[in-house]
C-alpha cells in the first residue's frame, strides 16, 4: 500500500470539491478499495471518505419506494423493513464485518460482475441518484466494472420501487462467496423482471426469456426447464459457461419460489 492523504468531508459539496484534487478517489466502506490498495492495484493520492456525510446515509420508505443513501452499509439494509427481498440480499453479502462497512454506493460504483446489488437494481428498474443526475438502472450498468458514472460523479442514493413480490437467489462461489450466479426476480403486477449477476462476461443482465415465461405464468416450473445459452457466460475455475447457464434457470426458479 502506498501512502495517501485522507479527508472526511461532512457534505456532498465538500466531497465533490475534494474529489477534484489530483489523484483523489472516493472511499465508502473500503471493502473493495482498501483491498485493491493493499495489493497495489490502486494507489490514490487522496482518499475522500463518504461515510461522514449524513445525507448519504440511511434507509427510508415512502410512496412505495425505498430510498437508500449511497453510504448506507449492507447491515443496515439487511435490517430495514419494507422490502424483504432486498434486505435478504443485503444480509447475504460477505460476512458480518463486510456488511458492517461495505455500502450500496460502493458496490454499485464498483459494479463487480459477481456483486449482488446490481441484480436488484436492474430487476427493480431502480434509479441511481448522483450529485449530477438521476440514472435509470437500464442505462447505468455498462459491463464488468463499468458504469455510466463520469469522472468525479458520486452516487448519493438509490431508489427502488418496491415490487409486489421479489426475491434474490444466490449460488455462492465456493471461495469468495460472491455470487457464482445470483438471480433477482421482481414482480410488478403483470410485469416481471429477472436480473442475473455473476454469470456474464458483460456483467449483470436481464434474462428476457425467463421474464417472458414468468409473465405468462409466475411459477418456478415456468422457468425450470428453460435452456439458457452459455454464449458470453463466464468461464473460470468455479464454473463453466454451461454450468452457469444451468444455474441461471435453477436460481431463477428458486427466486420465484422464495418470492
Amino acid at each position: 500500500m502506498q501512502n495517501f492523504d485522507f479527508v472526511k468531508p461532512a457534505s456532498v459539496a465538500e466531497a465533490v470539491a475534494a474529489l477534484g484534487t489530483s489523484g483523489a478517489q472516493a472511499l465508502s466502506g473500503g471493502q473493495t478499495l482498501i483491498g485493491s490498495m493493499k495489493q497495489n492495484l490502486a494507489a490514490p493520492a487522496v482518499l475522500v471518505s463518504l461515510t461522514g456525510i449524513a445525507a448519504l446515509k440511511g434507509v427510508s420508505v415512502s410512496g412505495g419506494v425505498m430510498s437508500i443513501g449511497a453510504a448506507t452499509p449492507h447491515a443496515e439494509v439487511a435490517k430495514a423493513s419494507g422490502f424483504p427481498g432486498l434486505s435478504s440480499l443485503a444480509g447475504g453479502i460477505g460476512d458480518p464485518a463486510v456488511r458492517a462497512r461495505g455500502t450500496i454506493g460502493g458496490s454499485l460504483a464498483n459494479n463487480d460482475p459477481a456483486a449482488c446489488y446490481p441484480s436488484a437494481v436492474l430487476a427493480c428498474g431502480a434509479t441511481v441518484v448522483t450529485n449530477r443526475r438521476e440514472i435509470a438502472a437500464d442505462d447505468y450498468f455498462q459491463g464488468m466494472f463499468t458504469t455510466a458514472l463520469e469522472d468525479g460523479e458520486i452516487i448519493t442514493a438509490v431508489r427502488f420501487p418496491i415490487p409486489e413480490r421479489a426475491a434474490y437467489a444466490k449460488f455462492e462461489q465456493p471461495a469468495s462467496r460472491f455470487s457464482l450466479t445470483g438471480v433477482f426476480v421482481a414482480k410488478y403486477g403483470a410485469k416481471v423482471r429477472v436480473a442475473v449477476t455473476g454469470a456474464s462476461n458483460d456483467g449483470v443482465f436481464r434474462w428476457t426469456d425467463g421474464e417472458d415465461a414468468l409473465q405468462a405464468s409466475y411459477d418456478p416450473a415456468a422457468v425450470k426447464g428453460l435452456k439458457v445459452s452459455p454464449d458470453g457466460l463466464i468461464a473460470d475455475l468455479h464454473g463453466t459457461p454451461a454450468y452457469r447457464a444451468n444455474l441461471v434457470a435453477v436460481m431463477t426458479a428458486r427466486a420465484v419460489a422464495a418470492s
Binding site: N3, Q39, F171, P174, A175, S176, L180, L237, H238, G239, T240, Y243, N246, L247, V250
Partner: protein, 797 residues
C-alpha cells in the same frame, strides 16, 4: 451436539480447558511478528513472477540508492553456503539414490517456481523495503523458459528440466516392497475380480492463520546468533540453518519459536528466509525481520498432497481381498523440502495395507520435480493419500460386485487376536480392534434409520448418501532404528527436562512444540497426575533451544506419544530420587518408600513427606544424603519408542447432493476413533474436529490450481476455497473404543491427524453413494474437491 464431558476435573482423563486459550483468545499471545526490537530492520523478499526462467541480470544500483535501503542480497551472496537439505534419503527401485538438487537460500542462476525467492532488500521501514523490492523486480532480467507443470508430462519430458542436471525431472522411482512385485503381479493375473480406480489427491495450501515470520539477530560481542521464527521444530531448524546452510556452530545459535499460529506441517521445515535474516543481521549488525504477506504464504509455504494414483484391488467374488497395487506420481515441486521425499514413500506406501488382512501389496511411487512450489508433509502426510486410495477402491469394488460396504470391510479386517501383526508393507501393528470402532460408528450414525432420512431428502428433490471410511495410520513418528533403516538422516526420539524448583513448583522443558494443539494443558495434566501436584504448579516450556534439552518438534501426531513419554520418564527419575531423599529424611529404607498422591511415605506407617518438602530438602540439603546423592531435583530423559503407534477408526459421513446445482452438504459426520488412552477428551475432540474440518475442506473445497504457464490461479481467498463453519456439521465424535498402545507407558497413540486422514474418502464415498441411489449410476468417481460444478458435470455428463 455439545458433549457432556465426564466429571473428572484434574489429571489424566479430565476435560480441562486449555490454559493457553486465555492468552490466544484475548490477543495476548506473543507471536514472532509481535516482537519488536531496538534498531530493527525489515527484509522484503523479491519473488519470481515466472515459473521457470534463467536469471540474466539483477541490476541492484537503483534499488540500493533508494531511501532507507540498507542492503540487497541475491543468490550470488549465498552461492557458496550450503543448501537446505532433504531429511530423508530414498532409493529408487534400481538401487540408485534419489536425485537431490541444491536448494539455495536465494535462487541462483534459475528461478523454478512462481514465488521462488531470488533477492531480498533490507530497509529501515517495511514500506521502503517494499518500494525497493519493486524496483529490483523491475531491474531484473529473467529469460523465461517453458514451464514444467503437469507431473506425468514432466516425468516423460526429456528436454525441459526443472534442474538442469536432472534429466527426466524424476527424484526417484520407488517400489515397496520391490521384492514382492512379482508375487503381487501373479495374484492379479489370476484374481477372480480386479477393481481399478484413477484418483487425484488434490494439492492443498496449508493456510496457517499466522503467516511465516522470522527475526534474525547477531550479537557481535559474543558472535552469537538468535533466530525467532514460526517453527514447529526449533531444534531441527537450528541444526539445518546452522550446520547445513550457514555453517554456524550449533552452540552459537539459539532458535526460538514463540507462540505459533498453526502449522499443519508447513512450519516443520527450514525455509531460506530464516537463513537470510540471520546472514543479514550479521552483515548489518542490526536485527532483521521478515513477515510473509498472505500472498507470499500461498506462493511459498510448502504445499501438501498432490498425488495422481492408479490403484487396483484384486479380490474374490465375495469381496475377500487378495492384493492391492498402486502406481502413484507424486509432485514434489521445484525443490526438495525437508520431508518431501519421505511423505509419498514411507509415510504412504507402508500404510497401503490399511486395517486389512490383505496378503499382498505393492506400491510404486514416482516423485517428480515441477515448476511449482515445494510440496511436503501436510496434516496426515502420506497417510491421507493411502487411506483415500484404499477406501475409495474398496467402495468401488463393493459397487461392482454388489456387496455391502460395511460387511466387506468387516470380513477383511484384522481381528484382535492377530496382533502383533506384520503387514505386507513392513509395519508391525501392535494392537487394535477395528470391528469395535465400526460397530460403534454404525450405532452412532443410526444407520438403521438412514432409509427414512434418505426418503425425506428425496421428497425435497435431494439425494442422500452414506460414506464409510475405516482408516488406520502410523504415527508417533519415531523409532530411530526403524526410520534410520528407511533412510531418515535424523533420529526421531524426543526429550524433556523436569525441573522441580526449591519451592516445589515445576518447570518442564519439552522438545515438542505447541502451535495450537494445547500441549501446555495436556502435558501439565499428565505430569500433575503422575506427581500428585496441582496442574497450576506446573509450567510447560517449549520452543526455545536455549531452554529445552532437545526436541524433534511436533508433527506426525508424535508430541504426547514420544515427548510426553520422555516427560513421564524424567518424572519417574524425579520420583526415584525423591524416594532416596525421603528414605534419608524418614530414616527408612528406600525400598519401603511409596509415592502416591504427592506424598512420599514409609509403607504401612503414617510417616510421610510431601513432594514440596522433598523438593525443598533437595535445594536446602541440610538433612540430606550428600555422600551418595547430588542435591537439586532436575532430571532429563530422552525417549525413543520401539514402534510407531497405530490409531485407527471408522468414519461415517452422511451427505446430501442437490442434483440441480451439484452442491454437496454434509448432513452428519460421525467418528469412532481408537486413540488408545485419552489424556484430555476435550482436546482430543477438538483435534478431531479440526482434522475432519480440513478433510472436508480437501474433499469439497480446496483446490490448488496452476495454469500451464505455472501461474497459481488460486493464490488468494477469492479463489482458494477454505472450509468455513457453515460448510461443516456438528461433529459426532467418540473415542471410547480404546486399545492402548502396547509399547509406551501412557498407552497413547496420537490424535492430531486422524480427522484429516479418515475423512476425505468418507465424504467422497457418501457423494458417490448419494448419486448412485439417485439413479446416476454411470458415475464412478469425482475428483476432489468435489465441487458443485464437478458434481453437476458428472450428473449431466
Amino acid at each position: 451436539m455439545p458433549k457432556d464431558f465426564e466429571a473428572k476435573t484434574t489429571g489424566i482423563g479430565a476435560p480441562m480447558k486449555r490454559r493457553e486459550d486465555i492468552r490466544f483468545l484475548t490477543g495476548r499471545g506473543v507471536y514472532t511478528d509481535d516482537i519488536k526490537l531496538a534498531g530493527q530492520t525489515y527484509a522484503v523478499i523479491v519473488r519470481s513472477q515466472v515459473a521457470h526462467g534463467r536469471i540474466k541480470a539483477i541490476r541492484t544500483e537503483a534499488a540500493a540508492a533508494m531511501e532507507g535501503v540498507l542492503a540487497i542480497f541475491t543468490g550470488e551472496d549465498f552461492k557458496d553456503v550450503g543448501g537446505n537439505p532433504a531429511g530423508w534419503l530414498i532409493k529408487s527401485r534400481n538401487g540408485e539414490p534419489m536425485r537431490e538438487p541444491k536448494r539455495p537460500v536465494l535462487a541462483h542462476g534459475k528461478v523454478r517456481h512462481v514465488g521462488d525467492a531470488y533477492a531480498a532488500v533490507i530497509a529501515e521501514t517495511y514500506e521502503q523495503g517494499r518500494a525497493a523490492a519493486q524496483q529490483l523486480a523491475d531491474d531484473t532480467d529473467i529469460e523465461e523458459l517453458p514451464a514444467i507443470i503437469d507431473m506425468k508430462a514432466a516425468a516423460a519430458d526429456a528436454t525441459n528440466r526443472v534442474h538442469d542436471e536432472i534429466p527426466d525431472n524424476l527424484c526417484y522411482d520407488w517400489g515397496w516392497i520391490e521384492d514382492n512385485r512379482a508375487a503381487v503381479e501373479e495374484v492379479f493375473a489370476r484374481a477372480p475380480h480386479v477393481t481399478t480406480l484413477e484418483l487425484v489427491n488434490n494439492r492443498l495450501i496449508p493456510n496457517a492463520m499466522e503467516p511465516r515470520a522470522s527475526i534474525g539477530e547477531y550479537f557481535p560481542g559474543t558472535g552469537d546468533y538468535k533466530l525467532t521464527t514460526t517453527s514447529q521444530n526449533p531444534h531441527l531448524t537450528r541444526l539445518l540453518v546452522a550446520a547445513f546452510v550457514l555453517g554456524i556452530p550449533e552452540n552459537k545459535l539459539t532458535v526460538v519459536a514463540p507462540d505459533v499460529g498453526g502449522g499443519f506441517g508447513s512450519k516443520i521445515y527450514h525455509y531460506g528466509e530464516e537463513a537470510l535474516v540471520l546472514a543479514a543481521a550479521k552483515r548489518l549488525g542490526r536485527p532483521v525481520r521478515w513477515t510473509a504477506e498472505r500472498s507470499e504464504s500461498f506462493l511459498s509455504d510448502a504445499h501438501g498432497r498432490d498425488h495422481v494414483t492408479k490403484i487396483e484391488l484384486a479380490c474374490e467374488k465375495d469381496g475377500t481381498f487378495l492384493a492391492f497395487r498402486t502406481e502413484t506420481f507424486a509432485n514434489v515441486g521445484a525443490y526438495l523440502s525437508n520431508f518431501a521425499t519421505v511423505t509419498p514413500t514411507f509415510l504412504h506406501g507402508t500404510l497401503m495395507a490399511g486395517p486389512y488382512k490383505v496378503p499382498h501389496v505393492y506400491v510404486n511411487v514416482k516423485t517428480v520435480f515441477t515448476n511449482t512450489a515445494p510440496v511436503d508433509a501436510y496434516r496426515g502426510a502420506g497417510r491421507p493419500e493411502a487411506t483415500f486410495s484404499l477406501e475409495r477402491v474398496v467402495d468401488q469394488m463393493c459397487r461392482e460386485l454388489g456387496l455391502d460396504a460395511f460387511e466387506v470391510r468387516r470380513k477383511n479386517f484384522l481381528t484382535p487376536d492377530m496382533f502383533p501383526y506384520t503387514t505386507p508393507v513392513g509395519l508391525v501393528y501392535d494392537t487394535g480392534n477395528y470391528q469395535a470402532t465400526l460397530d460403534k460408528v454404525i450405532e452412532m450414525a443410526d444407520v438403521a434409520g438412514f432409509e427414512s432420512r434418505r426418503a425425506a431428502s428425496a421428497a425435497k428433490g435431494l439425494l442422500r448418501g452414506l460414506g464409510l471410511s475405516t482408516w488406520i495410520e502410523a504415527c508417533g513418528i519415531a523409532p530411530s532404528h526403524l526410520v534410520g533403516i528407511l533412510g531418515a538422516r535424523v533420529g526421531l526420539y524426543d526429550a524433556a527436562t523436569v525441573r522441580v524448583n526449591a519451592t516445589g513448583n515445576i518447570s518442564i522443558m519439552v522438545g515438542a512444540h505447541s502451535h495450537g494443539q494445547g500441549h501446555e494443558t495436556v502435558f501439565a495434566q499428565v505430569a500433575a497426575d503422575r506427581l500428585g501436584v496441582p496442574e497450576s504448579s506446573i509450567e510447560i516450556v517449549h520452543g526455545d533451544t536455549s531452554k529445552i534439552p532437545f526436541g524433534m518438534g511436533s508433527y506426525g501426531s508424535r508430541s504426547l506419544a514420544v515427548c510426553g513419554v520422555a516427560m513421564t520418564k524424567a518424572i519417574d527419575k524425579i520420583i526415584a530420587k525423591g524416594k532416596k531423599i525421603a528414605a534419608h529424611m524418614l530414616e527408612a529404607s528406600e525400598a519401603d518408600i511409596t509415592f502416591e498422591a504427592g506424598k512420599f511415605a514409609v509403607a504401612g506407617t503414617d510417616k510421610a513427606k510431601t513432594f514440596g518438602e522433598i523438593a525443598f530438602s533437595a535445594y536446602v540439603p541440610h538433612n540430606y544424603p550428600l555422600e551418595t546423592l547430588e542435591p537439586g531435583l532436575e532430571e532429563t530423559a530422552f525417549y525413543d519408542p520401539a514402534n510407531f503407534t497405530y490409531p485407527a477408526g471408522a468414519y461415517l459421513c452422511e451427505a446430501e447432493v442437490d442434483p440441480e446445482t451439484g452442491k454437496v452438504t454434509i448432513e452428519a459426520f460421525h467418528c469412532a476413533d481408537d486413540f488408545g488412552n485419552v489424556m484430555n477428551p476435550m482436546i482430543v475432540e477438538g483435534q478431531v474436529h479440526g482434522g475432519v474440518g480440513q478433510g472436508i475442506g480437501q474433499a469439497l473445497l480446496e483446490s490448488t490450481t496452476y495454469d500451464e504457464t505455472g501461474q497459481l490461479l488460486t493464490g488468494s481467498y477469492m479463489d482458494y476455497a477454505m472450509p468455513r463453519a457453515s460448510d461443516v456439521p456438528f461433529y459426532n465424535v467418540d473415542y471410547s473404543c480404546q486399545t492402548p498402545c502396547t509399547h509406551n507407558p501412557l498407552g497413547v497413540k496420537g490424535c492430531g491427524e486422524a480427522g484429516a486422514i479418515g475423512s476425505p474418502p468418507a465424504v467422497v464415498n457418501a457423494v458417490i453413494d448419494a448419486l448412485h441411489r439417485g439413479g446416476h449410476t454411470h458415475i464412478k468417481h469425482i475428483d476432489m474437491p468435489v465441487s458443485p460444478q464437478r458434481v453437476w458435470a458428472a450428473i449431466n455428463g
